[in-house]
Symmetry: C2
Subunit: 338 residues, 2 copies
Amino acid sequence: MNLKQLAKELNLSFSTVSKALRDSHEISTDTKKRVLAKAKELNYQVNPLASSFRKQKSLTIAVVIPEVVNDFFGPVINGIESIAQEKGYHVLIYLTHEDMQKEVAITQLLQNGRVDGIMMSLSEQTSETTHLEALKEKGIPLVFFDRTVDQPDAPKVTTDDYNCGIKATEHLIENGCKQIAFLSISQHLSISNKRMNGYLEALKKNNIKSDSALLVSCDSHDAKNNERIQELLKRENRPDGIFASVEKLAISTYKICEALRLNIPNDVKIITFSNSYTAPFLNPSLTTVTQPAYEMGREAAAVLFKLIEKKKPASPMENIVLNSVLIARNSTKSELAR
Amino acid sequence: MNLKQLAKELNLSFSTVSKALRDSHEISTDTKKRVLAKAKELNYQVNPLASSFRKQKSLTIAVVIPEVVNDFFGPVINGIESIAQEKGYHVLIYLTHEDMQKEVAITQLLQNGRVDGIMMSLSEQTSETTHLEALKEKGIPLVFFDRTVDQPDAPKVTTDDYNCGIKATEHLIENGCKQIAFLSISQHLSISNKRMNGYLEALKKNNIKSDSALLVSCDSHDAKNNERIQELLKRENRPDGIFASVEKLAISTYKICEALRLNIPNDVKIITFSNSYTAPFLNPSLTTVTQPAYEMGREAAAVLFKLIEKKKPASPMENIVLNSVLIARNSTKSELAR
DNA sequence: TTTATTTACGACAACGTTGTCGTAGGTTTT
DNA sequence: AAAACCTACGACAACGTTGTCGTAAATAAA
């Protein structure tokens, strides 16, 4: 069932039918009603492939993220999807698996009108940005969220990672930690660096000498990370506080503490960025900095649709910063009886 | 940059160029090389919208699921995406939010060639299946996974829910439970019913009278669920074992036990279906039946692509059943000192 | 009444690609 | 040497829709 057949049924030209369906002012209300009724009767729906092709608009956006097995990106997708559904858009998901090569390959795929806009959160490995610049040059609406990058000047939606880095570190200090380690997740990643800078700033403010031996560089290699954390906790003068930049590192630390028979929080206190809803039920319950993931998805999608619809030349690049919240739980408690 | 322009640069007709790019046998190897080289030089890529339209193939599949904020659907998507990426396909995500009306609306959207195939896991509410039959009739390749339904005879990928229902219940019995409650998540949902039937069968096998008062019907209404569970645990003869059909009900139960000062596992033991990687770190660690979510995604995607590629008339409807595994932890331990 | 304007519709050309068909020139077969 | 057959390419018509333009008939302005 296509336009031509529908037009034949109605004894109208197919261009008239097309216009009637799109509520053109050129068509009388009577005819519109007739067409609409017949279209419903025969269950006519426009061929989206033909329509997209003709208009060179796919009504589709792409979401490029490192992982979906994650309590953060889940709600983000949720937020994005809710806005997209309102707007009548479709959502493509691409996973980079923290692999920059995949990220490059994906951006390559998205350069030819398959999508009307792209939302990205970068992989841990992403050090170069030429593939992102390429997207920018092609004029494809692009929004970064959470894991951003400076170079392609595109709108960004992030959380107050630097301030939360300070808050998290000071929370450990307030609870008696003297030697605080920071577990970073990437050299390149904005969030990791901002959180670390907050950590360093908090140390300075509180007159604590920062010690590079307490900066543990982790990455997407879980086994390697475990070794690094284990090495850290086996040291003679092991840290009494750990600030994990992402949740998986905190969970690894839990595992290792269990193995090493270290008590949390008495031997070592732990705080992490996390969106896990099970954090309150962990043993011990985990102190977290929790990001407004769902809202982030919604905000980022809203910004993207502004770009898509208004075709704004992206002059005053929006840079939305949402606030995360620190939720203190037992993993950082100072006076917990053993 | 399109075919015509590329052809002009090469002094060839655009149909020759098109054929050369698709490695047609009609074109000499010399010409192919020239064309390929020039295409790379000028960074030509086929317009996917035009190509899809012409071939009436979108190279896209849809994944329709209830939620993504969930430790199960995350890895499933991961598995699906890994296969799709191999095949050069794109993955659209649609969330029903456990709402049948949304599910119907989404299936409506997918009837017109926007996607080459669909993978679905039904919403809790889905009682009717006319919208699914419609997809079947349109001849769109369709695969159900996890939350399936009998009526549209389509391939299904599930786990051994019935057997695991038995195993989980017997695990509680073995650990001393006499009064076991079952928290179902939907009247309609295959997984909920299969798990419940396993539960009932296990009771029968062990000569325990089943009691409808111990069958708690939950749904997507979290607050209501909490009331129901609270009511259950406040009873005079409250159950000493709880079998939650999905993880979120187990977490609710944890919360309520905390509020009611009930000790898990001494006062009440808990087992649940769950894919949360934090289960071992909960307080107490949570005994789970864990589904092979990633493999399920891969299997389901593989079946879908068989349908798409072979255009098999779906005669011997595949019905793949994967095995889940019961991991005993402290939430069901019988001899845990208080 | 004549001329300008609006209303409501139809004809038609794109959009970029793919696949069918036609064919000139060369190669093999009889 | 004529007939049959490849080889390698070009011409062209789709695919279904959208938007521009043209134009009768109806209405309004002169």
